[in-house]
């Protein structure tokens, strides 16, 4: 893998004039943003402005569906992940994903993690890996006595933490989270947010959320997205800055209107 010289680059992911298409429809346009190492970057904005679409472009999940394409570049550690020779499977191995609806595999809690590790050729002590992954995801104490029950027997919040444990078991560099708490109750949401603060010591996290309080509480940087343009409108990042600044002194009027709850 190529890296920038010897020093670790400050930015893990960088987009350059990124445009995302569904067929002929341009869903996201002109995105230039840099995602910093070991920070939590939130993407906020009203429904349908392309937040998830943008997030999914970061690990080539979009292209699982026919007809999607991009223009511009997504640079991961100095390498364009959309270059011809790049294998999307390798990209997703290093840039993992947690989804809106908890989606553990219909296998045991243990197997959810073991399977994920096994497909990437993990040869070490599986019991240890399962335990440490579950511990990092703050789930170990709740499930250590029922590791061989189905992952689907857990509550929604536990399932989501299992999905996070599964994602970190293969030690990605970046974890993309697509509204990971939107299907959860406030207590479970809080747990996920606390977990994110722990995880950012080792991982870079990018999270899509439509919950502005969550972005304000949990993130270091915030990208504000909105539909723009005349005629056929497509989503773009209208402001990208430190979270503190976005929520206290936004430079764009539309950001201010949105974060103060004037619309959306």
């Amino acid at each position: 893998m190529m890296t920038n010289n010897n020093s670790e680059p400050k930015y893990v992911i960088e987009t350059q004039d990124l445009e995302i298409y569904y067929g002929d429809f341009k869903a996201v346009t002109n995105v230039n943003m840099k995602i910093e190492h070991n920070k939590i970057t939130a993407i906020i904005g009203p429904s349908g402005c392309g937040k998830s679409t943008l997030l999914r472009a970061f690990n080539r999940m979009n292209e699982l569906y026919a007809g999607t394409s991009i223009k511009g570049n997504v640079i991961f550690n100095g390498q364009d992940i959309y270059a011809k020779e790049v294998d999307p499977v390798e990209v997703r191995y290093r840039i993992g994903m947690v989804f809106q609806k908890p989606n553990p595999f219909p296998k045991s809690i243990y197997e959810n993690i073991a399977w994920t590790a096994r497909i990437h050729g993990y040869k070490g002590n599986m019991d240890e890996l399962v335990e440490s992954s579950l511990q990092q995801a703050a789930l170990w104490d709740e499930v250590k006595d029922k590791l061989h029950q189905s992952g689907l027997s857990l509550s929604g919040g536990q399932q989501q933490r299992l999905c996070i444990a599964r994602a970190i078991s293969i030690k990605p560099e970046v974890i993309l989270m697509d509204e990971p708490a939107s299907a959860l109750d406030p207590i479970a949401t809080l747990k996920i947010e606390e977990l994110m603060q722990e995880l950012k010591k080792n991982y870079t996290i990018t999270i899509v959320t439509h919950n502005m309080q969550q972005a304000a509480r949990a993130s270091d940087y915030t990208a504000m997205m909105m539909l723009s343009g005349e005629g056929e409108r497509s989503g773009t990042v209208i402001e990208f800055d430190e979270t503190k600044k976005i929520f206290t002194r936004p430079s764009d009027k539309r950001t201010e209107d949105y974060v103060t709850g004037r619309f959306g």
């Binding site: 690990n59 999940m61 699982l64 026919a66 499977v89 390798e90 990209v91 997703r92 191995y93 290093r94 993992g96 994903m97 947690v98 989804f99 609806k101 989606n103 553990p104 595999f105 219909p106 296998k107 399977w115 994920t116 497909i119 990437h120 189905s150 689907l152 999905c163 599964r166 994602a167 293969i170």
Partner: protein, 310 residues
Amino acid sequence: MAELTEKKLSTMSLRRRPRWGETIIQGLLFFSGFFSIFITFGIVYELGKEALLFFQMPGVDLLSTITTTEWKPHVNKFGIWPLLTSTLLTSTIAMTIAIPLGMSVAIYLSEYASPRVRSTLKPILEVLAGIPTIVYGYFALTFMTPLLRQIFGSDVVQIYNTASAGLVMGILILPLITSMTEDSLSAVPRSLREAAYGMGATKLEVAVQIVVPAALSGIAAAIIVGISRAIGETMIVAVAAGAGPNFTLNPFIGAETITGHIVRISGGDLSYDSIDYNSIFALGLFLFLTTLVLNIISQAIVRRFREVYE
């Protein structure tokens, strides 16, 4: 004032009103369900009654039927094994073709094929399923058998043989297994696939290790329906497998299956209440019980191994 109160009361009434349309529809639906169950019981009753007559005939007993290996009605020998082995032989050959091929095609269609390829391939498979089985029978006799004789030599392969019938039966069953399997694969939620892809799984890993286990109950159902179809398939074996019970496991020589035997016997002049006539009901009952047992076994297997995703 009094009028107003009265009106208010009547509009507020929660009393159940008769809905005749609903009642009639409900009755019709119940009747349809009842009727199909009734017919099934009727068939079982008729099969059982005639089979019982068979076993009450002089010289016939259940024990020798299931233990001896000669089926010669004209000398009162009713050992079911020659018919059973050839039924098992043709079915096994057919399923050896149909299961792996059908599963592969289904996985390809559901996980790999582009929408355009899928919309071309599926109708073609459905056409395959629509061909009358008598055509398949002659396809076995006039194409598959000569082919086998060319490959293995005409001194090894007889004109009538179970291999040819079994292979063509496999082609017949292929679309059935494919379409049922494909349906159950497609029913696996997209979120499960995304979960696996999001962890950096390859297409093959997602298809074989995530989607197939989740769809196992549907796949097992497809296989069981396929096996039942193979055991009960009649025309192909009647035309191509041979006419005459033969206790053998050699797929290259002629041997009559249970269904083939029933067709041949009932095609001739059969007088009601003769031992031949009654014997085919016993065979029919046996076929029925075989598929019933298969169904029960498969349901047990599925309950044990299915990965429930909801």
